[in-house]
């Protein structure tokens, strides 16, 4: 009683034309190699340019007294800021997540929001209010207030997910509350803390604008001066190589320190929420401390912007140039976001679906720009274009490519997360239902990763829109973005004119900062009652 009549299916000859061997993902590999090549391009030309006059010249340039001073300045600042950020970040996160502090969600949002203010705007805020503020102390103050959320965020998330049973076990073994904090809690949040500290260190090494504003000489400031004022590319590139070495050292340091910490992951399964510490009489002090931190990190820069906007509007009207700057910012950022997202798709595809030695290497290279300051990427691209592709020099394309390289890691993170939700067996099923490989990708994978693509696009867009250093070096002549126009006014002490540009940038980048803080908020909702 076979009512089943198989349909006719494609003839053999047709299919033989499609001579695909084992599905070697040619398109993805090609895309991944392009992404990796783009990341390596500025680095390679940095090296080529630096040793243009021979390695002995590089040595002479590097073993100078000034370089020792720069090294000391950079390292002393990085060490102080990283430690302060770690203390502030862990302290604030612990107060919000592990104590009976009231209004946790309010604090969780407020403490993360400084991430949405570009560092050079924080610097501007402080210096515009107090001109005497400069040097080491000012640099530490500004950078700590700008960067501590990079520690706060991962540590708060980690404290949220803390397994209470370990805490109880330690207490039952006769360890006091302080001992438990140092011997159990701190060990559990160690990967998050180290990861946050690494981001702080890399951020410090890459920062240029804030240091220029507070007049503190670090490698970036010196490199910028040598290149922009001295036109000495060999010297600038040699110094930039030291900067890259410092960043890579920070990466390796985190990897080495974290190596043992990574083993410290407890298995899945139901966890008990850890008990919260009763603040009691201390709650007033804790609230005062958190309020002070928010006032310094958020209140001062925003207050300064507001003050200068009110004062500025009475003297100079925001000219139509703000619209022009906004338009070119949007144009460059959108193009860069599209390019970075496009490059991230093959990288994420390879790293999730075709893991092997080559694809792991491609993925690591795609993350490398995290350790490449904007100044380094810009210098490398300038060296390349001036010598080998003059038409590209100070073209829109070069700036867009620079943004795309710089923020490729953000795009890869976003796309990768989405890609892991689109397993390849769905494409297999689509193939068995009659789709060609391209159609299977378009009808199945593309719709599934679309939210990830949108997130990647948004993150790259926002980061590009507030980028200053590479933009100053690479922007086409006569074109201004919000950041460069702000910079131009600030350099001329026209604070009132500068303020609206900064306000626009803050408005753009406050969105992701708020989203990040909400994500922690969502986690805390799931954690159960205190």
């Amino acid at each position: 009683m076979s009512s089943y009549a198989p349909a006719q299916h494609g003839s053999g000859r047709w299919s033989q034309i499609w001579s695909g061997r084992r599905r070697w993902p040619l398109v993805s590999v090609a895309g991944g190699l392009i992404a990796a090549g783009l990341v390596l391009l500025p680095l390679a030309f940095l090296v080529i340019e630096a040793q243009r006059s021979g390695w002995s010249e590089v040595q002479r340039l590097l073993f100078r007294h000034t370089v020792a001073v720069l090294l000391w300045n950079t390292v002393a600042l990085t060490a102080a800021c990283t430690v302060l950020c770690a203390i502030l970040g862990v302290g604030a996160a612990w107060c919000v997540e592990r104590t009976t502090l009231r209004g946790k969600r309010f604090w969780a949002v407020l403490l993360v929001l400084p991430l949405g203010i570009p560092d050079f705007v924080v610097g501007f805020g402080w210096v515009s209010l107090d001109h005497s503020l400069h040097g080491y102390f000012a640099a530490v103050l500004v950078m700590t207030l700008s960067l501590y959320p990079l520690v706060y965020l991962p540590v708060a998330t980690s404290l949220r997910g803390l397994d209470g049973s370990l805490h109880e076990a330690a207490r039952s073994l006769g360890v006091g509350p302080w001992g438990t904090f140092f011997r159990v809690t701190l060990r559990q949040i160690r990967p998050a803390l180290l990861g946050g500290c690494l981001l702080v260190t890399l951020g410090l090494l890459a920062e240029y604008g804030a240091f220029e504003i507070v007049q503190y000489q670090t490698f970036t400031v010196r490199i910028f001066t040598e290149f922009k004022l001295g036109f000495d590319t060999v010297s600038a590139c040699s110094l930039a190589l030291v900067l890259v070495a410092l960043s890579v050292a920070a990466l390796i340091g985190e990897l080495a320190l974290n190596g043992r910490g990574r083993l410290w992951r407890s298995g899945p399964g139901a966890r008990r929420a850890a008990p919260r510490v009763q603040l009691g009489r201390w709650s007033v002090a804790v609230i005062a401390a958190l309020a002070l931190l928010c006032a310094l990190a958020l209140g001062v820069p925003l207050g300064a912007l507001l003050y200068w906007m009110i004062r500025g509007s009475s003297t100079t009207l925001p000219s139509s140039s703000i619209l022009g700057a906004l338009a070119s910012t949007a144009e460059f950022s959108a193009a860069a976001a599209a390019l970075a997202t496009l490059l991230a798709v093959p990288v994420a595809t390879l790293s999730i679906r075709h893991r092997n030695r080559l694809t792991v290497l491609i993925e690591r290279l795609a993350y490398l720009p995290m350790a490449l300051p904007g100044l380094v990427v810009a210098l490398g691209l300038v060296s390349f274009s001036v010598r080998y592709a003059l038409a590209l020099y100070q073209s829109s394309l070069e700036l867009i490519v620079a943004y795309a390289i710089l923020f490729l890691p953000l795009a890869v993170v976003g796309v990768r997360a989405a890609m892991s939700q689109a397993p390849s067996n769905l494409e297999d099923v689509a193939r068995s239902l009659g789709c060609s490989p391209a159609a299977a990708w378009r009808r199945i994978t593309l719709p599934l990763i679309a939210p990830g693509l949108a997130a990647a696009f948004a993150f790259v867009f926002i980061s590009s829109a507030t980028e200053l250093t590479a933009t100053l070096l690479l922007r086409p002549t006569g074109v201004n973005t919000l950041a460069t126009k702000f910079w131009e006014y600030t350099s001329n002490f026209a604070y009132g004119a500068a303020a609206p540009y900064a306000a626009l940038m803050v408005a753009i980048s406050a969105v992701p900062a708020y989203m990040l803080s909400r994500r922690v908020g969502v986690l805390s909702d799931r954690g159960g009652a205190p």
């Binding site: 076979s2 349909a7 299916h9 299919s15 499609w18 068995s432 239902l433």
Partner: protein, 350 residues
């Protein structure tokens, strides 16, 4: 013979997963490929479906070569339906859109999709999204989606393993009935010997990349190719025997060999626990049983419908324990003296 797999080889790096698999599937039959995890059964299915290419050997369907090292027909041109583990429904599409996915555009709107949903018994769920369905419902949608294109053959990869036990047998029976009714040629991969024996017309056992034995379920159960397979398909007693013509002389007495099999010399025979009959007896030490082998229940595992008894032969220090399956109502507590008799023909073990 509709699906024919010949001398199939496939390796990943240095690991040989398939080492010369031969498999024949009759038109309209349900063939189960049975094997432990890691034996290569999913890889075999993926090569047949066309997601992986064969290194050596060939796959042909209804007389058409799909893959033989020169020719390679891509999966979308093979006319083979594929239902992976857990269904793999497209999460962004409704049930209807999932089922309609492989249909030509003009057929997507017609009555085809509702008919298919009706056929698998979920006519009212068409507008739901996959995450709103239970595991069993997801399996049915996946099945309807694969059947929509009227494939020449259907491949099911562990289709029931993700369902919880209470649901599994129910969904299994329904799917079985449906496949029977439609008469679609099916290859089902499973690690569950009970599933393979109860569903399939033919069972092929895959071990270490090779088909050890292929045949009807009863044949495999009663005449397994080797001792390992005998144990894999169910509990077994392996007993020393002296062969004489078509009988085996064992400690359980003289037993007939199955299917008039003949052997000589000494060797091993296989006696399934349900072939062993157990009866309680009055405890009379020293007195030899008039009939059968005396022993004592050492342990009793009670499953409700039946019970598995471990029986220690009298005078044994723990060697030569026999397994016997009795109806649940005939379960005997540990320590009960019993008499044991073997029934029916037994098989020689290679």
């Amino acid at each position: 013979m509709i699906l024919h797999v010949n001398d199939l080889h496939k390796s990943y790096g240095s690991r040989e997963v398939l080492r010369g698999v031969d498999l024949d599937v009759q038109a309209g039959s349900l063939t189960a490929v049975l094997g432990l995890s890691g034996c290569g059964k999913t890889t075999l299915l993926r090569v047949i479906a066309g997601f992986e290419r064969a290194e050596r050997g060939s796959v042909s369907l209804a007389g058409r070569t799909l893959d033989d090292g020169h020719t390679y027909v891509p999966p979308e041109k093979r006319g083979i339906g594929y239902v992976p583990q857990e269904g793999a429904l497209f999460p962004h599409l409704s049930v209807e859109a999932n089922v309609a996915f492989g249909l030509p555009r003009r057929e997507r709107a017609g009555s085809t999709v509702p008919d298919l949903l009706e056929m698998v018994g979920i006519g009212q769920l068409g507008r739901r999204l996959p995450h709103q369905l239970s595991g069993g419902e997801q399996q049915r949608v996946a099945l309807a989606r694969a059947l929509a294109r009227r494939p020449l053959a259907l491949l099911l990869d562990e289709p029931f393993s993700s369902l919880d036990a209470s649901m599994r047998s129910h969904v299994r029976d329904e799917v079985h009935a449906l496949l029977r009714e439609q008469g679609v040629t099916t290859v089902l991969v499973t690690h569950d010997q009970e599933e393979a024996l109860s569903l399939a017309d033919t069972v092929a056992v895959l071990r270490d990349g090779l088909i050890v034995q292929q045949g009807p379920p009863a044949e495999l159960y009663q005449l397994p190719a080797d001792r390992e397979l005998a144990g894999f398909l169910g509990a077994v007693n392996v007993i020393d025997a002296e062969f004489r013509g078509s009988t085996a002389r064992t400690r359980l007495g003289e037993l007939a060999l199955r299917d008039g099999g003949a052997a000589s010399g000494s060797g091993l025979v296989m006696v399934r626990p349900e072939q062993i009959e157990v009866s309680a007896r009055e405890h009379m030490p020293g007195q030899a049983a008039a009939y059968g082998m005396p022993g004592e229940v050492q342990e009793c595992r009670y499953y409700g419908h039946d019970a598995l008894l471990q029986i220690r032969p009298e005078g044994s220090d723990g060697a030569g324990i026999l397994l016997a399956r009795v109806l649940g109502e005939h379960a005997l507590p540990a320590g009960t003296p019993v008499t044991v008799v073997a029934r029916g023909p037994v098989s020689v073990l290679g």
